[in-house]
Amino acid sequence: MNSITRLIGTAAIALALGPGAVKAADLSFMSFTYAEEANKAIVQGVLDDFQKTDKLTVEPLGFAWGDMQKNIFLRARSKTLPDIAQLSERWLPTFASLDNLVDLNTVYGKDKLEAAFAPDALAMGDINGKQLAVPLLSGSIGMVANKEVLAKAGINEAPKTVDDFKKALVAVRDKVPNSVPYTMATKNNGSILIDFMVWNWVHGGRIIDDAGKVVVDSQQSRDALNFMVSLMKDRLAAPEIDRPDSRRLMGQGASAFYLDAPQTRTFLRDFSGKGEAFDANVLPMPTPVLKAGDKPVSVQWGHLLVQFAAGGKAKADDPADKFLTYLLSDKVQTDLPLKMSALPVTKSAREAVASDAYLKNWSAATGDARRNEVGIWSNAAELTQIIGEEVQGALLGQKSTDDAVKSMQARLTTSMEKAKKSE
């Protein structure tokens, strides 16, 4: 047999085996948690246990959080969507128009889902009465403090009002050398949006109202942006900070405050290099309010699971749905969320973990957890970019807060009108 014949033979065998190898797994699961170094082993453990329990294999597809939307969108175009995908709660409206997305009410029954899930968690996956996703983890994005840094700055209790907060930041700046007192997001539009949205709420403003009208051109929004700009000017916040930078600086004891989801504890364990010993420094606290008596605010947060199937049709005994059922079982829900420092989503699991001190403190600090008022629109990506650019422009001194707010209003209005026309 000459070498060309051997080559052709090998190619033929590879072709014959190829499709078989691709089909080896019973279902595919696209996940950003699987791509996170700190959490990969946790997800792999769940997949292994599922294989043991249900005798079904899962092909994990790990993509970085920032690349997930792009990958799903491209796979939708090339008709290679995974069976199950993990989404951040704010992405769901963007993908709601995909016709392969399964309405899970048709698979499990609306009543059954309502009986199993905590209402706040289930609501994250509801779009116009269709249950296009079920929650995997839940919580809120709120203020986190580093107790060790606060102690170094002589601060005994978490600041309650905006004025107290600023005083605490000044104390950290003056007493903890080389620190960034508040690691406010100043780069990455997605991260900047969260900080601006929270401070805007604290000051009584809104960006887009419930009817989809852009209302950011208000005195409250100007006050919020002025407050953020003043933090930059007084060196209480710093440029070039994104959420991962905040976590690293907090883990290194170089930051006192930032906004994050409860999952932050897992990242801090990793980034501090101290593991669970660092937990003692992590203090979930209510976001400071404008004046005493106001209710603290936070942003609803969660990870969702969506199912893709041909024509959006699926049955509860499909492998993908067995996997969903497994992920939402008490066995997983009383374990996975805790390992990832987040709240479970089913009623029974929440009862089972009610005594967890960290999650209890987080829940107590949550206050008024509001739905992301930008993420709920199908053009959320464009809205996020506009808000990020305008806020960043003001924070870095490239434009006045007044110009930034006016420009934000005009650009957001154009985007919302365009999105309505496209629907």
């Binding site: 792009k70 963007t94 960034v180 710093a238 440029p239 070039e240 990506a381 650019e389 960043q392 999105a419």
Partner: protein, 310 residues
């Protein structure tokens, strides 16, 4: 002496001979060898380009299941879109600075590497390092150099007493542009240096010696002898540099993401953002078509030079 028969029909012809003779056989072989490259080109360049050309005439956003034909509406919108024009302007600045910067640095480095000194071979090899490193890796390395808190640049300038506080280089429009330009210049120096070094090695040394005997200084030698000699190389290098810098995406996106605000949003980043962050595929395709159009003049110039044998 044997007489050659003029009547070709009189000669026997092998049944295995190629129809059309040797030349036609070579042409067919040439076409056959070209086929894999042509298939690959069609699949990864021609088809996506034609597809983008078609999509530029459609409205196709994430809210839509199917694209909707709108003719040249996307192009009309671009005409009044300040963000796209700003991206053109930023691209022009970026291409000019990177091409000029690389030209000067590449030529300077080639002149040094052309001098005889101990360790020249090692240094020449090391000079190729930026070319070997993946550009995204280089962008991250430069990102750390410019980092406001941990960057080597700040530490170095503070050590020299040139700045009192760490500077957030990547948070000012000028600093961010400087960073992306420096990174690209650093990445491109080996390529430019190689071209210039090849050109310099063809330079008649006696001509330089004669000029020096006549009293020419270094600058005069460079101006009157070296640069005229390198003129064809210079033109090729500038054209290739302009084409390469117009296409640049990875270093800019990895280093600044097009920011702060939109200070380093070159056309490639603009197209990427519109397509893969805002999912406005039709509009992104239209911007992409204009971007390709801006690449045509230098590409045409380059091809013309190739055909003419320069």
């Amino acid at each position: 002496m044997a007489v050659i028969e003029n009547n070709l029909e009189a000669y026997p012809v092998s049944p295995h001979a190629n129809r059309g003779g040797l030349k036609a056989g070579q042409s067919r072989m040439g076409l056959l060898l070209l086929l894999p490259a042509a298939i690959a080109f069609s699949a990864v360049i021609l088809y996506p380009f034609l597809s983008a050309l078609g999509l530029s005439l459609f409205e196709f956003t994430v809210e839509m299941m199917e694209p909707r034909y709108i003719g040249f509406e996307n192009f009309a919108k671009i005409a009044s879109d300040p963000d796209v024009w700003a991206a053109f302007w930023t691209t022009a600045i970026y291409v000019t600075l990177t091409t000029l910067g690389t030209l000067v640095a590449g030529l300077g480095w080639a002149l040094i590497m052309n001098q005889p000194f101990a360790g020249r071979g090692v240094l020449r090899s090391l000079s190729l390092l930026p070319w070997v490193l993946p550009s995204t890796v280089s962008a991250f390395v430069w990102g750390w150099i410019f980092n406001a808190r941990y960057g080597v640049l700040n530490a170095f300038l503070m050590e020299l007493g040139l700045i009192d506080f760490p500077q957030a280089w990547l948070s000012t429009p000028q600093g961010a542009m400087l960073a992306v330009v420096l990174t690209k210049v650093w990445l491109s120096i080996p390529l430019f240096m190689s071209f210039f070094l090849a050109g310099l090695q063809n330079l008649d040394k006696e001509q330089i010696d004669a000029a020096r005997v006549d009293g020419a200084g270094n600058f005069a030698v460079l101006r009157d002898h070296i640069l005229p000699h390198l003129r064809p190389v210079l033109i090729i290098v500038v054209v290739l540099g302009v084409i390469g810098n117009l296409q640049q995406f990875d270093t800019v996106y990895a280093l600044t993401g097009g920011g702060p605000v939109r200070a380093t949003t070159v056309l490639s980043v603009e197209v990427y953002r519109r397509a893969f962050e805002q999912w406005d595929i039709g509009y992104a395709s239209a911007v992409g078509v204009l971007w390709v159009a801006s690449l045509l003049p230098p590409a045409f110039l380059y091809l013309r030079m190739l055909v003419k044998g320069n």
